[in-house]
């Protein structure tokens, strides 16, 4: 029975995640169009709402081209690695408190493991394989350079990411993500207590997801398509999907760690409780995530791209010392103030 509930939860969450990701792509295109004073896709369905569906159908009907010189097996494997890591990272993020259905209390989190934060970091570090493999196995210069740049960038920023979370863990005293959310009741969100941690983590998340202004792995003027230059059809679609679901997962993670997760301030004072409150909390979580996604998108269309040496020196010479100073400052603050 427990396993059945788990499977239902997993299928629901994966389905919603995929749906959200598909519409985030549409959102990005519409926002980009608005920023650039264009209209954007609005023909398929009302206001273009069926566009994601049309895109998927188009990608499925495309020919799957594998270059002659490519390493066939690894070329097939790379998109699978990318998408499965992007989808499974969400497993430990709590998207709500708990809900009571048919006399059963169901926790709104797929896997409540003790080391949730570390699981996320480990999954992020595995993401390097998807890009490295696709870059190398394609046997194309653009792909190789894109893959190498991307993996070096992800490795560099992962350290700042790992260090930025430590302040949050010191405050919560736990590696469980649901415990971290519980600690942020009311307005005691970690963004208030950990402003530097929040900034370093968000910047690192931008770099980890290869989003603008750190999207050098696929800098179009230099590298055509970056590591997925030699992919077509749904395999290209999987990389695309992985990129956007990484963005959604990163937003969910920032929400959980710094923006109070599913917490609604003063919810108890307003006399809300039970299932209604749980549903509202899930809604609050989704709203926060969507706002962050919108932030990711707006940043992409307003800020110019970094140069690669600037990106590397920002990661190693600014973010890393800043994150370490933040840990020491947090330690001192906890010792002195309590």
């Amino acid at each position: 029975m427990e396993t059945l509930i788990d499977i239902v939860k997993i299928v629901t969450v994966m389905g919603i995640l995929l749906g959200v990701v598909a519409y985030v792509v549409l959102l990005e295109r519409r926002v980009a169009a608005a920023i650039q004073n264009r209209i954007g896709p609005n023909r398929v369905g009302w206001q273009g709402l069926l566009q994601p569906l049309a895109d998927v159908v188009k990608l499925v009907m495309k020919e799957d081209i594998v270059p002659r010189n490519a390493h066939r097996f690894l070329h097939d494997l790379a998109p699978i690695i990318s998408i499965s890591i992007a989808m499974t990272t969400f497993a430990v993020i709590p998207f709500g408190d708990s809900i009571t259905l048919f006399g059963r209390t169901i926790k709104l989190q797929i896997a409540d493991i003790n080391i949730g934060v570390l699981y996320i970091l480990a999954m992020t570090s595995l993401g390097v394989y998807g890009v490295t493999l696709s870059g190398w196995s394609s046997n194309s210069k653009y792909s190789l350079l894109g893959g190498l740049r991307s993996s070096a960038q992800m490795l560099s920023y992962e350290i700042s990411m790992g260090l930025a979370v430590i302040g949050v863990i010191m405050i919560a005293g736990s590696l469980r993500l649901d415990r971290i959310v519980e600690m942020q009741s009311g307005w005691m969100w970690n963004i208030v207590l950990q402003p530097i941690g929040f900034i370093t983590f968000t910047v690192a998340a931008f770099a980890e997801t290869n989003r603008h202004p750190f999207d050098l792995p696929e800098a179009e003027p230099e590298l055509v398509g970056g590591y997925h230059t030699e992919y077509s059809g749904l395999k290209f679609g999987l990389f695309f999907l992985a990129e956007y679901s990484n963005m959604v997962v990163a937003s969910a993670l920032i929400t959980t760690l710094f923006l109070g997760g599913w917490q609604i301030p003063y919810a108890a004072e307003m006399g809300l409780s039970g299932n209604l409150l749980s549903v509202l909390q899930v809604g609050a979580f989704c709203a926060k995530v969507l706002l962050l996604v919108l932030f990711f998108i707006i940043v992409r269309w307003t800020i110019p791209r970094f140069r690669y040496d600037q990106l590397m020196s920002l990661g190693w010479k600014v973010m890393l010392p800043l994150a370490i100073l933040n840990i020491l400052a947090t330690g001192l603050a906890i010792l002195l103030i309590g």
């Binding site: 390493h71 690894l74 493991i113 003790n114 080391i115 570390l118 699981y119 970091l121 480990a122 570090s125 595995l126 390097v128 394989y129 490295t132 190398w136 993996s151 490795l155 992962e158 590696l175």
Partner: protein, 171 residues
């Protein structure tokens, strides 16, 4: 056979099978990738033993760091795919002696140690907390020595990069 046993044998098969590929494969790319599965199998064992912190560290450091370094090394080397790696045996006699000595030592330690065993239900849910306390109290010296080791590694890395730079300037 319970579910746990099935999972155990699954991880054992993954670990041993991929380790065999690492050793016997003639293509170094396949060796590197088989190593990925070996590391995953070992991480699975750690989870089964209740050492979840160690398991995730295994993924974070070995899979996310050291294997990436290996893969970089393999991929960035010229014409690595076309060359067959010689995996024949050299100096079989000496190797036999060394291997049996090592294996004997490990087996000796294994049988001489009085292992503390506990039923699986009694496993503590987290090991990160206890690790932190022990690191800061009973094992403080090894912990601080680890920082010296890391310092030495950093200096070594800097030396490697400097040599590369001076060579580039000469060229």
């Amino acid at each position: 056979m319970t579910l746990i046993d099935v999972i155990f044998w699954f991880f054992a098969a993954v670990t041993l099978g991929s380790a065999a590929v690492v050793v016997f494969s003639r293509n170094i790319i396949y060796s590197a990738f088989a190593l990925l599965f070996t590391f995953f199998g070992v991480a699975g064992f750690y989870v089964l033993l209740g050492a979840d912190f160690i398991a995730i560290t295994q993924l974070l450091i070995y899979v996310g760091g050291i294997l990436v370094l290996l893969v970089f090394g393999v991929m960035l080397t010229n014409k690595v795919v076309s060359v067959d790696i010689k995996s024949g045996t050299l100096n079989a006699g000496v190797a036999m002696v060394v291997v049996s000595l090592t294996a004997g030592t490990i087996a000796g330690i294994f049988y001489a140690t009085e292992w503390k065993t506990a039923p699986a239900e009694m496993l503590q849910p987290t090991t990160a907390g206890e690790l932190g306390t022990m690191m800061m109290t009973s094992y403080l010296l090894p912990f601080e020595v680890a920082s010296v080791v890391l310092l030495v590694a950093l200096i070594g890395a800097a030396m490697v990069s400097r040599r590369d730079r001076s060579k580039q300037e000469a060229a």
